[in-house]
Amino acid sequence: MPSAQKPMRYGHTEGHTDVCFDGTGSCIVTCGSDGDVRIWENLDDDDPKSINVGEKAYSCALKNGRLITAVSNNTVQIHTFPEGAPDGILTRFTMNANHVTFNSDGTKIAAGSSDFMVKVVEVADSSKQKTFRGHDAPVLSLSFDPRDVYLASASCDGSVRVWKIADQTCTTSWPLLQKCNDVINAKSICRLGWQPGSGKLLAIPVDKVVKLYRRETWDSKLDLSDTFITQPLNIVAWSPCGQYLAAGSVDGSIVVWNVETQECIQRMKHEKNYTICGLAWHPKHRQIAYTDTEGNLGLLENVSDGKKPNDKVASTVTKDYNDLFDGDDDDYLNGDMVEPQSSPKAGADEDDGDDDDLRPTLGHLRRAVIDDDDNSVDIGMIKANLNLTEKEDGDDDQTGGFPALPLSSTQQPFYDGPMPTPKQKPFQSGSTPAHLMHRFMVWNSVGIIRCYNDEQDNAIDIEFHDTSIHHATHLPNSLNHTMADLSTEAVLLACESTEELVSKLHCIHFSSWDANKEWTVDMPKDEDIETICLGQGWAACATSALLVRVFTVGGVQKEIFSLPGPVVSMAGHGEQLIIIYHRGTGFDGDQCLGVQLMELGKKKKQILHGDPLSLTKKSYLVWVGFSAEGTPCYVDSEGTVRMLNRGFGNTWIPVCNTREHCKGKSDHYWVVGIHENPQQLRCIPCKGARFPPTLPRPAVAILSFKLPYCQVTTEKGQMEEQYWRSVVFHNHVDYLSKNGYEFDENTKNQAVKEQQELLMKLFALSCKLEREFRCVELADLMTQNVVNLAIKYASRSRKLNLAQQLSEMAVEKASELATAPEDEEEEEDFRKHLNAGSSGREWSRPLVRNVQQDQEMEDAEETACEEAEETPEVPKQRPNPFSKGVTSAEVTTPKSVVIASSSQGRVNPFKVTSNKKDPVVPAANVLDTMSRYSKKTSLSGSRAVNKQNPLVIKPLTPKPKSKQASAASFFQIRTPNSSEKSTEEREEKAGNEPHEVTVAAQENTENRRPKTGFQMWLEENRANILTDNPDLNEAEVIKEGMSRFRMLSSEERMAWTEKAKGGAVNDLTDDKKRKRPTADEDEVKNNQEQNSEDSNLSKKPKPLDQSTNVRLSAFAFKQS
């Protein structure tokens, strides 16, 4: 039993509704309490035709192109169908009518009103009225006997009466219903129904059962009930064949029985349990349309009992007519073979033609009416009337005597599989539907083209957002153009072919410098333009002949190529052309689209070779185009915006779901443009529609993008989303640079900075959460510089293992960079981006620049670092005022070195500071002991010792260990082109570093204070002491120094103390400087590692170092 219940859709405002099909079943007609009658092509019809019939419509009926409605001004009106023009008032009551219904041939209507009266009126002549009095309460519903003898009515007085139409007498009356005083209070509206065809049975919904009464005898034949029904039934409806009976209840269940077998073949529940108040069978197919009291419209498809069609026919055919029907069956089968899709029609037609003898026997009103729709009304009517007079043979022909419909419904090809989706029609991006009188032909980032097509005027209005491109223009639309595109160079218009005229492409090339601004091209006969687009210097159109024709913007015909399928839409930008076409047939509401992306310029290559286009389920394409930066994007009807991810193998990535921004269910955003920088989705909010009206002029809104990453409520998810969004939205920069377009270098830098910042934050977050593996994974995404930062961060937050892992990775990365020649190329690229102006051969310079960007990041890291320090993990360290001092010292040391190294080009103001602290001190032995000591402690892992002087050990030891060997090479790679000086500097650094460490160590082991005057002095004079007493050991040197220091005059001592303070201050300022955006942070990091390595390596080159140091410091002094 494959019955598909489609989701309900909004039809009318809340309140009572009614539904019926038109005679051929081509459309559904509903009416509701908003006073509108809507004509729906199908359930998915977004633009139903609305006819306003009054303030409120209570009931509607449709037959023979006449639409009868009962409205709140107490009248029953006629409108023509489908035009909807008012055609007079049929009758009036003193209260509103509750139900109107046609008789089977559509010549009469019956209306029951709240003023207790029932009237039967001839449609053709409203003066011929018959009034039925007798009900003591408002009349609920009515039903005509198909043979036009009787009329059944249900009323709030609790009775169901059967009237004889001819003399308006009450034939019988059953007290079946609950009494009430008004329709609103009635438990059930009790829509009853005669069995179509013979009218043998009258079905009345009574509480939870459907009572079937026999004609003439008026005794209850049987009750149809089902356990599924828990609430009173509101309405019954017979299938046109009279075999099935559907009933809807007040709690939204719909049940279908096979009346013959009394078997329930279908149970369905309303998705929201609203009361079903309208129920109608499709005249030919097995569909039931239903409406509820909340104004929703639903459709139930493929209602069947799953039996084989022929069995059913046999079972329904009565003996007398068996032989006739055998022949008939064959006919139908033939008909099916010829035209299986429209079997009912085919069958009926054939029947008409060759079964004349069958006709009178079968001749039935209902049947004739059906034929009417296929053929002509007049003949059908005459026949019907004839049949009416001839045929009074009674009950015999009942169900079997009405074979056309059961057959038509059962002889449908029995196919349960997925149904093919109708292919979506070609469209222009940014246009509203062509049938509108006032519509947008295109709205893009250049301007707006509007089209007016009403009685007075058929014109096109072109308007530019930026009036400096061109002024607004107004064109007469004599050719009836339906398609348009607009670029900064030209306007492209196209029309479809008419009977006389071929399809034309019309270009207004307003930026042309000659006098001829326009050209037109005629398509070959029978070839219709379906979509058009403009690029830079070219125009293209796709035609119904599956061809894409490319023109230059001046009108020269260029490339022409075939499409694999019917085109859906096209868009152009620069040299790029994207074409979306039908790759095949989609099923179950899905479209099956393919996409081609090509470059038309000099390169002439195809980038996407007809790949499948990913669309949200059951959606279709609504917009396709390029971002302002030239990345292809498209939007589907579910509001998902997808963008080409050039950085990941030209995949499509959803970047925004506009439905998330909508307030109402039927609100949409109509996309007009996409910008990647700044990240903007420009669209027009449309309330209750898919597209905006031209007036009032809609305002553009801006939506932000959001990648559908998981857990974006958490900090991690958020940052991940941001990171990847930034990556995706900056792919265009690479693309542009690769294709030789100019682009803003800053954008790239900013993007890199932003991304690295996010990575660093993520890194810090994972660090805090003790997710070290994740940290490494994150670091893998980072650039070299940031990895160094990360290493620093890791080491500072006491994650030795992590730091080690990271530095290994850094080395690996570095060596990769060095070895792979392709990488080199990339590097070249990178350099080119970074310093387009500078020579690019020197690594140091780009690096310095790079660092500028990373500066803030470091700040972020710094804060993160501080946060980390606040974690309970390191509270012991906190109170120690020295810890900061040491770290800063450690940072500053390399800094000073960096400055030296970067001083190649410019005078460095910090140089003095650095060199001031660079006195010649043979600190080797101290350092040795220190480093050895630290190594030992770190290896032994003794907590106590660590606590003693953890700050010196921790940051230093792990790195050298892991990096020693490779780091040297790494450094060489980085400075292959720098002069000897750099090596010198390196040595200087090497010299520098141990000295600093010494100081730090001294500080550590001594009184844990910043350098005192004495220390300064000692540093300065140590050499002297040593030369004087070469055999002194360290302690003795100090002792000697002490005594010498005391011997100095107080002024001198003061001077030293001052100096010491100044040094401290300098330290501090250095510390601060780190936070300022100076250009050297990066090298700081590089060199810092370098230093730390060298500090271990430096035992041997020490003597040399010292000398260079001296030389350098002297040099520096001179400079300053």
């Binding site: 930026d466 420009r682 009032p696 002029r697 305002a699 809104a701």
Partner: protein, 158 residues
């Protein structure tokens, strides 16, 4: 006095700017104005009904609703759908409110209250009655203070 950083201005994209700039640009025909959200017939009708129904002042959609309406409708009526209707609606609302204001001022004086509180009044409305009312109250105070000794002296004299 009028200054500030604004923009970026992109053709076709709405930007929020101060009213003075908006009007200026509009006068030079450099822009289209997007009326504030409340400047909509349905919303204003609702506000008017509410204002008529309540005895007290109802909150207005903008503290400068009258000024804005006046300015926008004078200079940019072509950008505002149903400008005339809006004008009438706002005028109606204004009239209702001013009438209420007068009424309350009247009852305030009549009942010789010492203080009264009026919520949701806009600046413009306060200014329409403010100066007059305070001066009038001053005068009345003088009259009353004169009246009392006058009465006593009156009784003394006669």
């Amino acid at each position: 006095i009028l200054q500030g950083d604004l923009g970026p201005f992109n053709p076709g994209l709405p930007v929020e700017v101060p009213v003075w700039l908006a009007i200026n640009l509009k006068q030079r025909q450099k822009c289209r104005l997007i009326p504030p959200e409340w400047m909509d017939v349905a919303k204003l009708e609702e506000i008017r009904e509410q204002e008529r129904k309540e005895d007290t002042f109802t909150p207005m959609p903008s503290p400068y609703y009258m000024e804005l309406t006046k300015l926008l409708l004078n200079y940019a009526s072509d950008n505002i759908p149903k400008a005339d209707e809006i004008r009438t609606l706002v005028k109606d609302t204004w009239d209702t409110r001013v009438a209420k204001l007068r009424l309350s001022a009247d009852s305030f004086v009549r009942q010789q209250e010492a203080h009264a509180k009026l919520d949701n009044l806009t600046l413009m409305e306060i200014n329409t009655t403010g100066t007059f009312l305070t001066q009038a109250l001053d005068h009345m105070y003088k009259l009353r203070t004169n009246l009392q000794p006058g009465e006593s002296s009156h009784s003394q004299d006669f």
